[in-house]
Amino acid sequence: MIELRHVSKQYRTRKGAFDALIDINLRIDDGDMFGIIGESGAGKSTLVRCINLLDRPTSGSIVIDGRDVTGYQGRELRAFRNSVGMIFQDFSLFQQRTVLDNVTFPLEVMHVDRGEARRRATALLERVGIADKAQSYPSELSGGQQQRVSIARALINEPKIMLCDEATSALDSRTTIQILDLLRDLNREMGVTMVHITHSLDVAMRVTNRIAVIDRGRIAEEGPTDEVLTSPQSETTRLLIAHSKGTVSDEEVL
């Protein structure tokens, strides 16, 4: 279970302090497909980066399975991060390594036996449907294929949590559906809790069971996906829905 308790994040910029997150309280249950939606700049990326401490909350705490991880440093922090996979919009593969070597890389760093690492990586590549490209370089792959590789890499340590930061935003709609379906299957098979950041209601609708709508650093609304999207309680959600249907003029958004 992931809990965010009174999490705030403030950035200092040259123009002064900027509140990216304001008193966020959130609970994500094991096995959830949790969506965090909102306009760009709403703070959803900061929120998810706080979960594996890529960003540190200014105040409040991150509690994973009852343990407060907020202050973790060094070895402890890295051990924790091993239990949290993450994938990115731009796939973030290591360009100078083959597909197989990308997936074995986290194990290599931990000095896992090479044969064992290859065996596990090959099995995962098989599972995400890209085993035939094991010896290719990322630049030779399509976007969808690259994201499959990065999913395999994120899963190599058998994490309990996986964070997906706009994982399908750089993909065309057909590939988006394939990747989302893959993630949903992996969630069911492996019981991995997934947190999806997205600005797309279609993505939220297809894979998530619960969502939180973020607006200017605050949670505007949270609940089961179908409930939130069919009977939205907040103005932010209504605007998001209207905007995605193209029934709102730009003046109304501003």
């Binding site: 991060r81 993450m86 973030s92 290591f94 986290p106 760093v109 990065s150």
Partner: protein, 221 residues
């Protein structure tokens, strides 16, 4: 044939000796610039404002000064102001190392900064320490982007060492001038032929480097 003097006596061997001086200055400078440039580039990317300011002043100073002026400062200035007597070759190596490491430092900085933020994020998310992330993820990718412009820098250093003759170093261009002077009365067009031969020598060294740079560029994209 009006250019047969080039094949006479010790002409060829003298040119090759001059070329070896050119190459010695270049290679020693490049070898010294490499570790210093990488170190400077890495320090540049640290967020320490004082460090950045010092490095920036150094880089800009080296950049705005003509290499010839730097050679004069080191060769004559060190003797009059510090009482140090460098040989022309040592002074040249000092100047080209200072120049090479400043330029390389800037290239290293640009290469490191061109690696997208998400590469750091994914490395940290995969439980790498800062050190591991830098050495195993960022640096290897930066080096790939770094290689083509660095090889170009080497060719620029090789060509610019011709200025060293102005502080008395007998490198290949200076040897060429000596040959021209020697054959002045017997071969009225000797200068032209000699410079053509010099051009050929520089071409023989710089063209392969240029090809290497282009090949590296192709490979890294």
């Amino acid at each position: 044939m009006a250019a047969d003097f080039l094949l006479q006596g010790e002409t060829i061997s003298r040119l090759l000796v001059g070329l070896s001086v050119t190459l010695r200055i270049s290679l020693v400078s490049v070898a010294l610039s490499l570790p210093m440039g990488v170190l400077m580039g890495v320090l540049f990317t640290r967020r320490n404002p004082l460090l950045r300011a010092v490095l920036r002043v150094y880089l800009e100073f080296i950049r705005v000064m003509p290499q010839l002026v730097l050679l004069f400062i080191v060769f004559f200035g060190s003797a009059t102001m510090l009482g140090l007597n460098f040989s022309g070759e040592v002074a040249s190596v000092i100047v080209f190392t200072a120049w090479g490491s400043a330029e390389l430092g800037d290239l290293v900085r640009a290469a490191i900064e061109s690696i997208p933020r998400s590469q750091y994020d994914s490395a940290y998310a995969l439980a790498l320490s800062r050190r591991q992330a830098f050495l195993r993820v960022i640096l290897p990718q930066a080096v790939r982007r770094l290689l083509p412009p660095s090889v170009n820098l080497v060719t620029r250093i090789v060509k610019t060492t011709s200025l060293c003759m102005l502080i008395g170093v007998v490198e290949v261009v200076r040897v060429g001038q000596q040959i021209i002077d020697f054959y002045r009365f017997d071969y009225p067009y000797g200068a032209l032929w000699t410079y053509a031969a010099l051009g050929l020598l520089y071409f023989a060294i710089c063209w392969p480097l240029s090809l290497l740079s282009r090949w590296l560029e192709k490979r890294s994209s």
